[in-house]
């Protein structure tokens, strides 16, 4: 199975109902999209994230009712350095979609998804703990894996693998 080139043309990707739904909701908020290795990725403007998730969740034909995972990738020293990644799953149609939000290093904050899915709580705490990305309106944004008095965020690329000694 040879790799097929990724499709990044937004017009062409509108054949995917997820992209069509998000563009119909707010065309300006959809920054770009990509279909690669049978997985659909949509870059969303950060203020529009919660609205986009709510639209995908409540759409009668899509029904993305399950938040599988929240994580983050640090592209330091590139800016915007953080890409927060959301994996949505539909327990009805069994399809997956990936939403991504770009965040700059000096203002790494995005709306929390806990109002939509309370299960986002731990995932977002983990991203906060390991990357230092803040989630607005999160009910309990504390460190979860590292000790409370830990300095730095270990999964950032400028944090050495051996830690500070």
């Amino acid at each position: 199975m040879a790799l097929e080139p990724a499709v990044t043309d937004l017009e062409q990707l509108k054949s995917h109902p997820e992209v069509a739904c998000l563009v119909a909701l707010n065309a300006a908020a959809v920054e770009s999209a990509k279909f690669d290795r049978n997985e659909l990725t949509v870059y969303v403007e950060r203020t529009a994230l919660r609205g986009a998730c709510a639209a995908l969740k409540n759409d009668a034909s899509l029904q993305y009712d399950f938040l599988s995972d929240v994580t983050c990738v640090d592209w330091f020293p590139r800016e915007p350095r953080f890409k927060v990644v959301y994996h949505l799953f539909s327990t009805v149609t069994k399809k997956r979609v990936r939403l991504k939000v770009r965040l700059t290093g000096d203002d790494a904050a995005v709306d929390s998804l806990t109002p939509l899915w309370p299960g986002a709580n731990f995932f977002e705490r983990e991203v906060f703990d390991l990357f230092g990305v803040r989630f607005n309106e999160h009910p309990n944004l504390k460190r979860i894996l590292m000790p409370d008095n830990w300095e730095g965020h270990p999964l950032r690329k400028d944090y050495p693998v051996e830690g500070y000694r």
Partner: protein, 400 residues
């Protein structure tokens, strides 16, 4: 890992007491610490405090070659090492666009289901032990020992197997292996009957579990619960059937679900899964195709020892893979499989180099632990023990 500073809780209610449970409590299955806010014997709030086993595996992965990450994945969840191997290998194979030979796929399915049997047996034994039924533990570990011996036969290790490789499995199983699997799997349904005889109708067990730690369908979905925890609340999702990987579409099996959402329902679902796994292993034994167990991709898969000694190209590729790894085309994939605990997902990002740019593990225990609050509020402290057992957490999986 929070410090012992539950100040907001103390302010909120002056009639309640904060009690610490764990991290060394025998029923917490490892190092889970729970802060319980209790009113008499009744739970008002339950605050899981995790991170005691956090080893920074995700960070370590970024400093290793792709093939060196495989043994790291074993150490996440020590009860289902093969499932973690599989998820990681599938993710990297998807990034590479690598096709796996059918025999390797069937071997992977067989080993994966044996892993599920292993994991469920440990769960059943310890869960029953928590609730006070000691005999089941001994029965379960008798069979688990046989599974571990099978693992040892194929990989040389009982627990940290690392049997799967990117591009297939490490080695063809020994000659008598399939016979041994057959002996075990043919006798296994009777053993499940034994466990069920001890528990399913046992009035003490039923009273400790029926109606206890209820989780509704809506809450289970909202709290990102997966696996048997989700299926026992009436949601029909099983990734083996819904997003087939590694040739699961060739196997016939049922997905047991229950709608009661209590500890007893989760018990029934897992025991039914044991029977389904037994069926899958049986089908895998009967229909396993002949052929190679590694993909024909010399730049990714290590050559046979024999070829290495006779062919110059094989020696060069071997040297290059070992010393500088292999490059993976730029991209990102999320591969989810149905682990014994739920959705095990690996999100692997490649920047085109020989080391993964980012490996993230979405572990089922980490998400499932959030359901404890809903399960336990308003119930007794003794039910917390049953609830922890019923979501089948592994703290290594949870903290990574």
């Amino acid at each position: 890992m929070a410090e012992m500073t539950p100040s907001p809780v103390l302010d909120a209610a002056d009639q309640t007491l904060i009690m610490n449970m764990g991290p060394q409590h025998p029923s917490t299955h490892g190092v889970l610490r729970l802060l319980l806010e209790i009113d008499g014997e009744t739970i008002v709030r339950i605050m899981p405090d995790i991170g005691y086993l956090h080893t920074g595996i995700e960070k370590t992965c970024e400093a290793k070659f792709y093939q060196q990450v495989v043994p790291m994945t074993d150490r996440i969840d020590y009860l289902c090492p093969m499932t973690n191997n599989l998820t990681y290998c599938l993710a990297v194979e998807k990034l590479l666009g690598l096709e796996i030979p059918p025999r390797a796929q069937w071997l992977r399915v067989m080993m994966n289901e044996l892993t599920r049997i292993n994991s469920h047996l440990v769960w059943l034994g310890t869960h029953a032990l928590d609730i006070g039924a000691m005999t089941v533990f001994l029965y379960c570990f008798r069979e688990r020992e046989q599974v571990l011996r099978l693992f040892e036969a194929v990989s040389g290790q009982r627990m940290m197997t690392s049997y799967f490789r990117i591009g297939g499995v490490s080695i063809e199983p020994p000659l008598d292996f399939f016979g041994r699997v057959k002996t075990f799997i043919d006798a296994f349904p009777e053993h499940i009957d034994e466990y069920e005889n001890l528990l399913t109708q046992n009035p003490i067990f039923v009273m400790r579990t029926k109606g206890v730690a209820f989780l509704s369908k809506q809450d289970a979905l909202a709290l990102a619960a997966t696996g048997p925890t989700l299926r026992a609340s009436g949601v029909d999702v099983d990734l083996r059937r819904d997003g087939p990987y590694s040739g699961y579409e060739n196997f016939k099996f049922n997905v047991p679900i229950a709608s009661e959402g209590d500890v007893y329902a989760r018990y029934l679902v897992r025991v039914a899964e044991l029977r389904e796994s037994q069926k899958i292993v049986k089908q895998a034994l009967e229909g396993i195709p002949e052929g190679p167990v590694k993909a024909d991709a010399p730049k990714v898969v290590l050559p046979d020892r024999e070829k290495m000694k006779t062919q110059m190209e094989a020696l060069i590729y071997h040297f290059k893979i070992v010393t500088e790894g292999f490059t993976v085309p730029e991209g990102e994939v999320y591969q989810a499989v149905e682990s014994p605990r739920g959705e095990m997902g690996y999100y692997v990002v490649s920047d085109g180099g020989a080391k993964p740019y980012r490996v993230h593990m979405r572990s089922p225990s980490f998400a499932n632990i959030q359901t404890l609050q809903k399960m336990c509020e308003g119930r007794l402290i003794a039910d917390v023990v049953a609830a922890i057992g019923s979501i089948d957490i592994v703290l290594g999986d949870c903290d990574r």
